[in-house]
Symmetry: C2
Subunit: 137 residues, 2 copies
């Protein structure tokens, strides 16, 4: 459910959020996070499309924060980094079974409800709040 794009994207955006004036290149982030620059750009491009950060091409370019970090939450990062809803990889099974007909449907309902609860929880954490929580430790 939580994939590593989430961790990577969050880590990056927190780094940008921590200093509103910072303009970090994918190469800089890359060496900080020990992850390939191209992957950084891919993940950050989603955040860019969502309007959470901006990027500047060319020499002296890079990425910088462009959102209200009190408003953007972990839920936002979560949705951005997860294409499909949480879904059990159901195995195709005999449609003749009384069970088979509905099990996938039922699981989908239950899991998407659970996912909703999960996201509700994440929604309570703005980037700012996460940053604050880190200070307190």
């Amino acid at each position: 459910m939580i994939n590593s794009d989430f961790a990577l994207g969050l880590h990056s955006i927190l780094l940008l959020a921590a200093d509103k004036d910072a303009c970090l290149t994918s190469s800089t982030l890359s060496s900080m996070l020990k992850v390939h620059p191209v992957r950084i750009r891919k993940v950050l491009s989603k955040m860019k499309n969502a309007g959470y950060i901006e990027s500047k091409e060319g020499a002296g370019g890079g990425f910088f924060i462009s959102c209200n970090i009190e408003k953007v939450t972990l839920k936002d990062i979560y949705t951005l980094t997860h294409d499909d809803l949480m879904k059990a990889k159901c195995h195709s099974c005999c449609p003749s079974c009384k069970i088979g007909v509905n099990i996938e449907k039922v699981l989908d309902i239950i899991l998407s409800d659970a996912d909703e609860k999960f996201q509700d929880y994440l929604e309570d954490y703005s980037l700012q709040k996460v940053l604050d929580k880190m200070q307190q430790m």
Copy 2:
């Protein structure tokens, strides 16, 4: 978060739960679920250790339900099929950063709280309740 052992295990145990007298072999389940018998046995052996089902070796053997299906919940199946708690695959990053020091710790706290909420939700669904819900559709 939800892996396919969960779906596979749940599907199997529901099949057993649906008929208390049924004794299904891994081979039968295998052809119903289109999954290799050995994998079925692996997943079911966990359920056996937990006491939710029993198995009988030798000719005429197989798996059958041995728990109160009003009591065993999706949470139980979930715990059984997930070794680690939900954990963000954090990338090792410079421990010199003010952020780096705590980001992993904070994420762990937040995610394990969220996981708890998620499991609380799953705990509401007993196997019986899932079976009932399937009838209603």
